[in-house]
Amino acid sequence: MRLNIVVCIKQVPHPEHFHEIKLDPESQTINRRGIPAILNPPDKHALEEALQLKERYGGTITAVSMGPPEASQIMEEAYALGVDRSILLCDPLFAGADTLATARALAIGIQRLGEVDLILCGTHSMDGATGQVGPQLAEILGFPFIGFVRKMEIQERGTVLAERTIERGYLKVEGSLPLVLSVTKEINTPRLPTVIGIMEATQKEIYTWDTKELGIDPALVGIEGSPTRVSGIFERRLSRKGELLQGDPEEVIRKAIKRLRELEALR
């Protein structure tokens, strides 16, 4: 049973550098220049799951991303890990997209790929952190969706049996292909690319499609196609400074407990 798998990936600023992202209060825009970018860590679990499924069942893996030209780096990394095709949906008209507009662009790109059995996504991206693109992509494509999958199995008759995480447990879920899944980090340990994988990756072509090539109506994507807009950004000031005690532990603790009672913190 060969599986044609699509994995949605995204390039995000390196989380360790988030605090360097500065706000220009005048233009109300954020400056991301010079911040190193990486392959979104949750997406690595989706790629790994696809690679394991391909190793088991055969088939093809296509990595798809909507991003700026710099995102070609992660498309290359996807090749280094072993995907068969890397496709970057790239066009200035995609900029400013919220999750719905992003899902639309991805859907149109994926529809060009022919028969797809399984679409895998990470649970969220480290920058936007909404986790909305996967489920919205499924609805737009008309595919069923299973979210937060921590374990999955393809059964003989071509159905998926999954453990769908919920608080304090999971739901046992069964679904028929084709479908869209978001996978959690519990599902696997992502592999690193090997040296040979890296050597071969730079020789492979990254397919770059813009709105013309995809035949998309610009009104459906980018900022125009986004129902939500950013209306403002502000820096957060922390302020709650209360009393600071110092000195002999016994004395200090006694004062502290008295204060906690006053604040109604102790019952």
């Binding site: 690193l192 090997t194 040296v195 730079t202």
Partner: protein, 377 residues
């Protein structure tokens, strides 16, 4: 002049950095405390292809080249220098066999070494001195289609765990390269050295007593041992050790820098104090100088320059980088005050590791001899 790494080299560096930070960093203190050979780590490194950056593709390598191979050693050593040191031993043996060996030897040995299925070592140093190979006392006496080996080697990296032991022995007074497989009668592994640093790298001795090996175990020409060994030292072993030193210095510097940015005295981080900044500035400058010396020598090797040309630059890289590593680690421990002397905070262990790098692949004095002779010729 393009100082940029190629995209492949960049991706390699990122991959090794991620491996080092995810797989090595959490275990580093524990591995050092145990002092055991990290066989799992070495196996994982080889599975990722880090053992085969110099190996040709037909033997399972990637032939990425010398710069790629030291980038991986540098990144590993930033986090866990003993693994970098083991990688150096593997690179050197693979280079020796690939440069000088017969096709049959290469086919037989290289794939297994590159995959990490067998561990190699290269033994030159003897009790009478490593810096002076002319007084080598290990002898290989030809007898029909065999050689009979007698002698002893000391301070050999990886010897206690090696499966394939490459070594030099004299045939008619001329040093010749051979290999022996562990378990061969007459070959015995001896005492494992007790080290102050690089604790989990097994370093030890081995001895031959009437050990018989087939003629086909000779690597290269009879009497061709020294040139073969010198090529490996100049193009692989020294630059690898220099890269380890660079990684050690970088690791110690990064820990100290982070500490100085967080540690507050007089109401502000000590990194704001000029005296501290001067110290950090010097460390940073020396590390960058070491870096470019390291990269330059192996870049020349990748460009196909002669061994003699490459040898001077790798000698410079080795002597400079190892001395920078010591200085950087000492400064780092001083910047961190009490924490600098606690093993949990790393820098003191880095200093111990750096000290072990002095005699490796040739002492600083020998490096200066190499450089001095070349410039005054």
């Amino acid at each position: 002049m393009d100082f940029n790494l190629t995209r492949e080299q960049e991706m390699l560096r990122n991959m090794v950095r991620e491996f080092a930070e995810k797989d090595l960093a959490p275990k580093a203190l524990e591995l050092d405390n145990k002092g055991e050979f990290p066989a799992d780590v070495i196996k994982k490194m080889c599975e990722l292809g880090l053992g085969g950056t110099l190996g040709k593709k037909e033997y399972g390598g990637s032939a990425m080249g010398h710069l790629a191979s030291i980038l991986s050693v540098e990144e590993i050593s930033r986090v866990y220098p003993p693994a970098g040191f083991c990688l150096e031993g593997i690179h050197s043996a693979i280079a020796l066999i690939q440069n000088a060996g017969t096709e049959e030897q290469k086919k037989n040995l290289l794939p297994r070494l590159i995959k990490g299925e067998k561990i190699p070592c290269v033994g030159v140093t003897e009790a009478t001195g490593g810096s002076d190979p002319s007084v080598m006392q290990t002898v290989a006496r030809p007898e029909g289609d065999e050689f009979v080996i007698d002698g002893r080697k000391v301070w050999i990296t990886l010897a206690p765990v090696a499966d394939i032991i490459c070594f030099l022995a004299t045939v008619d007074g001329k040093a010749t390269a051979f290999y022996v497989e562990d378990g061969t009668p007459g070959f015995e592994k001896g005492h494992r050295a007790d080290q102050v640093g690089l604790k989990s790298v097994p370093i030890g001795e081995f001895a031959f007593t009437g050990c018989r090996i087939p003629r086909s175990n000779m690597i290269g020409k009879e009497g061709g041992g020294l040139p073969a060994a010198l090529t490996v030292f100049s193009t692989v072993a020294r630059p690898n050790v220099a890269a380890i030193a660079l990684g050690v210095a970088e690791g110690a510097y990064e820990v100290a820098l982070k500490y100085c940015k967080e540690r507050k005295l007089y109401g502000a981080p000590i990194a704001n104090l000029q005296a501290i900044q001067f110290s950090l500035a010097d460390m940073s400058t020396e590390i960058e100088a070491a870096r470019w010396l390291c990269y330059y020598g192996v870049w020349k090797a990748d460009q196909g320059k002669s061994v003699r040309e490459v040898a001077v630059d790798t000698a410079r890289a080795k002597v400079f980088a190892t001395e920078v590593a010591i200085k950087t680690c000492v400064r780092a421990t001083q910047l961190m005050g009490g924490y600098g002397l606690s093993p949990e905070y790393e820098v003191i262990r880095r200093l111990q590791d750096a000290l072990e790098l002095f005699p490796a692949a040739g002492t600083s004095e020998i490096m200066r001899v190499t450089i001095g002779r070349s410039i005054t010729r």
